[in-house]
C-alpha cells in the first residue's frame, strides 16, 4: 500500500465538502477517522457523487473496473477512501507532482 499523499487527502476532503455544500448541508471539518454514513451523513448518492468528483480531480475511478479477484472494498471511514485512492493513484501523484 502506498503512502497517501497530501494531494490525495486534500482532494477527498474537498470532494466531500463539495457534496455537503451542493446538498445544502452545513460545512464541517472532515477528519480521517470520521464515519462516512453515520457521522458525515453521506448516503449512496452522496458517495456516488464524491466518486465522480474525485475522478475529475484525481483522474481515477477505482470502483469502475475493480482488479480481477478483488472483493468490493469496505468504505466506512474517510481513511478507507484515502486508502483506496492512494492504492490506485497514478504514478505522478505518488511523487508529489500534480
Amino acid at each position: 500500500m502506498s503512502i497517501p499523499t497530501d494531494a490525495t487527502v486534500a482532494a477527498i476532503v474537498a470532494a466531500i465538502r463539495q457534496v455537503l455544500h451542493d446538498t445544502g448541508r452545513t460545512a464541517v471539518t472532515v477528519e480521517p477517522q470520521m464515519l462516512l454514513s453515520t457521522e458525515l451523513g453521506l448516503d449512496s448518492l452522496d458517495l456516488a457523487q464524491t466518486i465522480v468528483l474525485l475522478e475529475r480531480s484525481l483522474g481515477v475511478d477505482p470502483f469502475r473496473s475493480p482488479p480481477p479477484g478483488s472483493a468490493r472494498p469496505s468504505i466506512r471511514t474517510v481513511a478507507d477512501l484515502v486508502g483506496i485512492y492512494s492504492q490506485n493513484a497514478p504514478i505522478s501523484s505518488s511523487t508529489g507532482q500534480p
Binding site: D22, G24, S44, L45, A48, Q49, I51, V52, F63
Partner: protein, 456 residues
C-alpha cells in the same frame, strides 16, 4: 417579404405529375418562367455566400438524367455535401425512376446494404463501371432511402416512396415563393422535407454557413427568410445565444418545430421574440413520416385527440405506462413510438422518450422534467440533463446548463448554481436531483440538432 408568386406550376398541375417526377417538374417550370430566380443561397450569413438559380439546377438535372439513362444503375447513393447537389441528384433520380439513398456522414457505414448502388458526389458525375449492375427492367419500385438520426436507436436505413416523401408538402398558393432557412441536415428526413417544400413551391432555400446563432440570424435577415423549421433545441439556442440586435432584425412569419417536443416556456419565449410568427409543432418520425401538427401554440396536443381519427387519418393510442401509439391508417399496424406522454389538464404533454429514462439506484428519472425545472431558474438560459454511469447507483443524474447573458443583477454563477440545486431538492425526488451540474457555453446536440441523453 414574399417574392412574386408564379402561376405555373399550379398545385393541380404538380399533382398531375407522378410523385417521383414532381421535384424535377417544379424546378424546370420555375426555371422556364423565372430562370434568374434564386433557388438556393448557400453559405448564407457568411463571407462566401453564393446563389444558385433555378435555371442552373434545371440544366444540371437534365444533364444527370442523361447519364442515368445511359448507365441505368440499380440505385444511386447521394454522397454529395452541397445541398444543391443533393437536390439535383434527387430530382434526376426521381424522374428517371432510379432509387436514391441519402446517407449522412455518420451513416456511411450503412452503405454495405446498398452494395450495388453507385455513388455520386458534388461533381455530379456518374461514373459507369462495367462491373456495376445494370437495371434491366424496373423491378424495384422507385424509392428514396433515408437514414434515421440514431436518436432512438442505432442509425438505420428506411425506405420511403416518393408519395410518402411528398405527403406533407404544402403546395397551396400561400406557400409559394417564400424564403426557407435550412438548419437541418439536408440528408435526413427533416432537412429533405424543407428543401422539397422550398423547391416545389418556387421558394428560396437559405442554407446558413454554420449553425452558429449569429450566422443563422444574419442569414435570415440578409436573405429575408420568413420560414424557420427547427428543433426546439436549435430554436432555444437562437433565442438565448444570439446577438439581441440581430434577433430584433429577423422577421419570421412561420416557425415549424419538430424532432423534439417543445415546452410551454420555449413557446412563450418564441412568441415574445417573434410576435408576428405562426408557430406549428410537427410530430413526425423517420419511419412514420408526419403524424400530426399542432397549431394552437400550446405544448403537447389536445386530450380529445386520443382515440380519434386525426386530420391526416392517423389514430393515437396510449399504453398504460404513457407510451404514445400511432396507427397511420386502418390497414397499418399500431406502432409504439417510444415517446411518453402525460395528461396535464386538457392536453397530453410529452415527457420524454422511454429510452431517455435515467435509472438511479433502481428509481426512474425523466430528464425532461429536470430540464424544465432548471430552465425556470432565473439566470439559466438552457439545460441538458443526461445519465452518467456510476458503479454505486447504476446511473446519476447529471446536468449541464448555459447561463443567461447577461446574468440577473446581483447574481453570480455560484449563486445561480446554488439556487438551481435548491430548487431541484424541493421540486424533485432525491434520486432525481442532479449530482453533477456543469456550466457550459452551449448545449451539446447530435447531428440531427437534438439533445443526446447519454453522456457524450
Amino acid at each position: 417579404m414574399k417574392t412574386q408568386t408564379f402561376p405555373n406550376p399550379t398545385p393541380s398541375h404538380l399533382a398531375d405529375a407522378p410523385p417521383e417526377d414532381r421535384l424535377a417538374f417544379a424546378i424546370t417550370e420555375v426555371a422556364r418562367q423565372f430562370p434568374d430566380r434564386a433557388a438556393i443561397v448557400a453559405e448564407a450569413g457568411g463571407e462566401g455566400s453564393r446563389s444558385i438559380e433555378y435555371a442552373t439546377l434545371a440544366a444540371a438535372i437534365v444533364k444527370l438524367e442523361g447519364a442515368l439513362d445511359r448507365v441505368r444503375p440499380v440505385g444511386i447513393v447521394a454522397r454529395a455535401k452541397r445541398t444543391e447537389s443533393l437536390v439535383v441528384i434527387a430530382a434526376a433520380c426521381g424522374r428517371q425512376h432510379v432509387p436514391v439513398a441519402f446517407l449522412a456522414e455518420d451513416s456511411r457505414d450503412l452503405i454495405g446494404e446498398l452494395r450495388d448502388w453507385v455513388a455520386i458526389d458534388d461533381s455530379l458525375l456518374l461514373v459507369a463501371n462495367p462491373a456495376d449492375q445494370r437495371r434491366e427492367f424496373e423491378a424495384v419500385a422507385t424509392h428514396v432511402v433515408v437514414a434515421t438520426s440514431g436518436t432512438s436507436g442505432p442509425p438505420k436505413l428506411v425506405d420511403h416512396s416518393w408519395d410518402s416523401l411528398l405527403a406533407a408538402a404544402r403546395l397551396a398558393e400561400q406557400w409559394h415563393g417564400l424564403g426557407w432557412i435550412l438548419v437541418y441536415d439536408a440528408t435526413r428526413w427533416a432537412g429533405i422535407q424543407v428543401w422539397l417544400q422550398a423547391l416545389l413551391t418556387g421558394g428560396r432555400l437559405v442554407v446558413p454557413a454554420s449553425r452558429d446563432p449569429d450566422v443563422v440570424l444574419r442569414a435570415i435577415v440578409a436573405e429575408q427568410a420568413t420560414v424557420l423549421p427547427a428543433t426546439p433545441t436549435l430554436l432555444r439556442r437562437l433565442l438565448t445565444s444570439a446577438d439581441r440586435t440581430l434577433l430584433a432584425g429577423a422577421r419570421l412569419e412561420r416557425i415549424t418545430l419538430g424532432g423534439e417536443a417543445a415546452d410551454g416556456l420555449l413557446l412563450e419565449q418564441c412568441r415574445a421574440a417573434f410576435p408576428g410568427a405562426k408557430i406549428t409543432q410537427v410530430y413526425a418520425t423517420t419511419e412514420l413520416g408526419e403524424v400530426f401538427r399542432v397549431t394552437d401554440g400550446l405544448p403537447g396536443f389536445p386530450a380529445t385527440w386520443l382515440g380519434r381519427s386525426l386530420a391526416g387519418g392517423a389514430r393515437l393510442g396510449m399504453r398504460r405506462d404513457g407510451e404514445l401509439l400511432v396507427q397511420l391508417s386502418r390497414d397499418t399496424a399500431e406502432v409504439a413510438t417510444g415517446d411518453l406522454v402525460e395528461k396535464r389538464g386538457d392536453r397530453y404533454e410529452f415527457t420524454g422518450r422511454r429510452s431517455d429514462v435515467i435509472v438511479v439506484g433502481g428509481a426512474k428519472v425523466l430528464p425532461r422534467r429536470v430540464e424544465e425545472l432548471l430552465r425556470g431558474i432565473p439566470g439559466i438560459a438552457d439545460a441538458r440533463v443526461y445519465g452518467m454511469p456510476s458503479a454505486i447507483t447504476g446511473e446519476l443524474v447529471a446536468a449541464e446548463v448555459v447561463l443567461a447573458d447577461p446574468m440577473p443583477a446581483g447574481s453570480s454563477p455560484e449563486s445561480i448554481r446554488a439556487a438551481a440545486l435548491a430548487a431541484c431538492r424541493s421540486g424533485l425526488e432525491p434520486h432525481g436531483v442532479p449530482r453533477i451540474l456543469d456550466m457550459v457555453k452551449k448545449i451539446a446536440t447530435n447531428p440531427a440538432g437534438k439533445v443526446p441523453r447519454r453522456q457524450a
